[in-house]
Symmetry: C2
Subunit: 211 residues, 2 copies
DNA sequence: AGAAATTTGTTATTTTTTTCACACTGTTAG
DNA sequence: CTAACAGTGTGAAAAAAATAACAAATTTCT
């Protein structure tokens, strides 16, 4: 396999989640158009993605749910698992830790960091909170590869620098402040305001078109 | 102007945020490559986007920060503003309401909904919480156009249906459960697990390539 | 004043992503 | 048994997005 399109990676993760639900319901096989419907895309797109990862279904029966889940896992998960930290135990950080903790086995949240002394030393959803000053020590020690950044925007840059210095390999930045990392660190930024403004834009557009 | 690429819309929102920060700092002009650097894209891309919205900068001086902010506002905001509701006042819902409330003037969070009697009747960050049973009444009454969905995944579908029935025009779904809406409703889904898995994937990939 | 440097605006090109179109093949109904 | 059907797999085409290339214009330097 050469290299998978960016978008395919995202969709594979989404397919898997849909498939896990099907598996729970006891469904053994699924058609490309069923997956497509769930994800609001076309069946061809699904088949193409699966072609890219080299999975081939059964003619007229569709894809084997269990097999496909496993294959997607082989592609997008790393066997050893990846340790993750959340930096900034505020509203968003707490929501995330609650949500993620114990969900995905290969993505383990093993630490959180904050500067507020009231938070340092506590444990939340089984995840201990350390002082941000100790990132340089804890991150290599716990073999943390990925950091989810939920500090106030004004601390985004300095936190990023500290993470990079501590040897982090990937950052998911939920701060609205774009940050910069060296090219060996993978950076993903997501801004909720952008999503909301986008929805608002298309709502407005639809309304205009109706006139 | 014909129609702007999907991606351009997202970037415009991001440019604006970057520009607002510049404005605060007293910067009056900005070059395309400065904007580009902040957003991790190329200067050509920025110039192209601005070309699409018909903004033209000053040669050798760059773009007028204030003017550009205003133009972007004219393009992506609706003058009357858009009223927004959050459905599901759990961890994520509360984080969002705290975060959004009073941030963007044209996007006003005017209501929240929940089924938990302890939450109904309360006010958070100035936003009143109503019973989800009343969505059909409150949404048209308060002229709410967009709903941010943060209910537990298992309630995603029924909440969506209720929102659509109440006349909502756009939904931002933060639930990991994909939902279906009629085509006149704009739907945006975002799944944090997908983002995290994507980061993990590329981290793993980078490590492999280093070998 | 003229040359060099810098930045915009836009056309053309390339790359990436999506969709089309259709061959192929089990399955089912008659 | 066979024809119609319903699905997969994939090369080719189209569409969308990003990048390159460069003319034009303004500032700055000499
Ligand atoms: N709350 C949301 O729904 C939401 C949505 C989108 C984006 N965001 C962004 O996420 C970030 C956090 O939002 P929030 O609502 O949780 O804010 P918050 O103020 O509730 O939490 C911030 C936390 O970070 C800690 N902190 C401050 N400086 C730090 C540092 N240098 N190192 C480590 N921790 C530090 C604070 O002690 C606090 O616990 C902000 O940048 C915000 O813009 C939040
Ligand atoms: N917490 C996170 O960081 C996070 C991250 C990504 C996605 N999510 C998703 O967001 C959703 C909410 O997460 P959370 O952590 O806030 O969960 P939560 O359990 O803390 O909150 C859910 C809230 O929704 C309310 N609710 C339940 N049924 C409802 C209904 N029919 N109508 C209106 N309100 C209803 C509950 O009373 C509760 O207040 C979940 O689907 C979760 O998967 C959460």
């Amino acid at each position: 396999m050469k290299h998978l399109p960016h978008k395919t990676i995202e969709r594979l993760s989404q397919y898997r989640r849909a498939l896990l639900i099907c598996l729970d319901k006891g469904q053994t096989h699924i058609y490309s158009h069923e997956i497509a419907k769930i994800q609001h895309i076309t069946a061809v797109q699904v088949r193409r993605d699966l072609m890219l990862i080299g999975y081939t279904g059964t003619l007229r029966k569709g894809y084997n749910v269990k097999e496909l889940i496993e294959l997607i896992g082989e592609i997008i998960d790393s066997q050893e698992g990846i340790n993750v930290a959340i930096i900034g135990m505020g509203n968003l950080g707490r929501a995330l830790i609650n949500y993620f903790a114990g969900k995905r086995s290969h993505l383990k949240i093993v630490a959180s960091f904050d500067i507020n002394p009231d938070k340092i030393g506590n444990t939340m959803s089984g995840v201990p909170c350390f002082s941000s000053d100790d990132m340089g020590k804890i991150i290599p020690e716990k073999n943390i590869k990925v950091g989810i950044m939920t500090v106030p925007a004004e601390f985004a840059s300095q936190t990023t620098d500290a993470l990079v210095k501590a040897g982090i390999k990937g950052i998911l930045n939920y701060t609205p402040k774009p940050v910069t990392v060296p090219k060996e660190v993978y950076l993903e930024e997501y801004d909720m305001i952008t999503s909301l403004e986008k929805v608002a834009f298309y709502v407005k557009l639809n309304e205009k078109e109706e006139e």
